[in-house]
Amino acid sequence: MSAIGLTAAGETSAAIDRWFPVARGEEVVPRHIVQAQLLGREIALWRDDNGLVNAWENRCPHRGVRLSIGLNTGTELHCRYHGWRYASGSGQCTYIPAHPGQKPAATMRVGRFGSAEAHGFVWVNLSDPAEPPMLSTPAGEQLTTLRSIYTRAPASTVAACLLRGYRFALDPTVAADSPMDAALVAGDPYTVRARVHAGQRESTVTFLLQPVSASDTVIHGLLTMHDVTADRLAVLRHHNAQMSALRDTAESA
């Protein structure tokens, strides 16, 4: 399924050159700027009017003010402090209001990270690689993004809790236990998949962990259901309750 073809990595420098989900795509709405964080680095996420999502270092190179308090005009981001304008895509400064006649130097550019959208999430790679993320599209399955859960626990603790047992029902309106299993996907410590099944009917949740910092993690979830006719809203509520319970376990671990 989501097979995020990435190698296993620790939460240190080795984790820098890989892709992580940092927000649900639908949260990055037009003409707004969303603040995200990955491995202790603040990120300003903003969608331009063509739909492109920019993932920028969350500070203006001029005086260090967070770009996430700036303005998204649809083509540029304007810094709140001195009105410097930065172009979508390149991050190049296009205009300095204090010096309207002066062309901004090429060095006046915001720090950019690699960004891509896939499976309903915005993905970021802090090393700004030229290559887009290698995300294999699942064949023929209906994917649903679950409500992401912020957890005050390290990703390794969250992964361990998920592996020990993320309990969920195939159909939450029918109280019946089904066999289930949970495992890391391709040995990646940030991706855990849990599966329940009953005959032909099965449901899997792929958890994508976003290491916000050494101590905090966002749990993103992708749900697939096969041959399951349960009420969608009931299923979403069920997972929200189960993930919240898992957060409580991870935070008290």
């Binding site: 001029h62 005086r63 003010v65 967070r66 001195h82 009105g83 209001p97 204090a98 010096h99």
Partner: protein, 284 residues
């Protein structure tokens, strides 16, 4: 007491409270250079007692409506402003605001011309009048930086301004954490109003900004001045608290200055030369 900062700061005076804030009974708690202070007004003698922990503070004075403290051995006097003795001026404190950023960032913001059209739009500046024309910067013989000939179009330059006009500014950084500005008075353009910012370094990454205003009277009311300055500073505060890093980088290349920033560039250079480290990210 063991000095918690370089002598330039430790052996200097810092405003730590408005005197008026001490009028209520009870203790007033604050912090200066990471040292917790307790201030108390004696209702019988009307004097102020100050302690750093259990130690009484010997160097304590009242000036310009503020309580000033020196934690070390005073190497020089409290800053002095001859304008404040003019009989036709209204002297006032405009509040003390806690800001979660290095006080050096607060001083630099006070010196900054090009933010006026954005952060104080409709008052101290306005688009499209955003251009910052050349102004001169010189070092002061007593240490510090003076910026002269700064001209800015201001829609409402002061509590009594009724229409916009080009305002002439002079800035002077007097101490690492003290800066003053002089701007043309809207009624008597050949004379200048004065606003001083006394920044109390609470820690390296937080401060209290104390404002002193010294306006020519001309119908100015103390309450209106106070309200105006608090409104203006209220616009600066969220900007300051969103600066990263919270300490002021003194290394060239960490942040990109332009011509409009020659005053702040000179301020940073002077801080580096004077060896100021508290609240700064020193040059390597």
């Amino acid at each position: 007491m063991r000095p918690r900062a370089e002598s330039l700061l430790w052996d200097d005076w810092h405003a730590v409270a408005e005197f008026e804030q001490l009028s209520r009974p009870g203790r007033f708690l604050t912090t200066l250079l990471d040292v917790p202070l307790t201030l108390e007004r004696d209702p019988k003698t009307d004097s102020v007692l100050a302690h750093a922990g259990d130690e009484p503070i010997a160097s304590l004075r009242l000036k310009y409506g503020f309580v000033w403290v020196c934690l070390g051995d005073p190497a020089r006097d409290i800053v002095n402003f001859p304008e404040c003795d003019d009989p036709d001026r209204l002297l006032g404190t405009a509040g003390s605001v806690r800001v979660a950023v290095s006080g050096l960032r607060a001083v630099e913001n006070f010196l900054d011309l090009s933010h006026l059209s954005f952060v104080h739009a409709g008052f101290l500046g306005e688009e499209p009048f955003t251009e910052v024309k050349s102004y001169s910067v010189e070092s002061s013989p007593q240490g510090g930086v003076i910026a002269k000939g700064c001209r800015v179009y201001q829609p409402k330059a002061s509590p009594v301004a009724r229409e916009g006009f080009d305002v002439d500014y002079t800035y002077a950084v007097l101490r690492p954490y003290i800066v003053v500005l002089y701007k043309a008075n809207p009624v008597e353009p050949q004379r200048r109003d004065m606003i001083a910012l006394f920044v109390q370094p609470v820690s390296e990454e937080s401060c209290v900004a104390h404002l002193l205003t010294c306006y020519l009277r001309h119908g100015v009311e103390a309450a209106a001045v106070r309200r105006f300055q608090q409104f203006i500073f209220g616009q600066d505060r969220p900007i300051l608290e969103n600066q990263l890093p919270k300490r002021l980088p003194l290394t060239a290349g960490r942040e990109i200055p332009v011509r409009a920033d020659v005053a702040s560039a000179a301020y940073r250079r002077w801080l580096a030369e004077a060896g100021v480290r508290y609240g700064a990210i020193p040059a390597a």
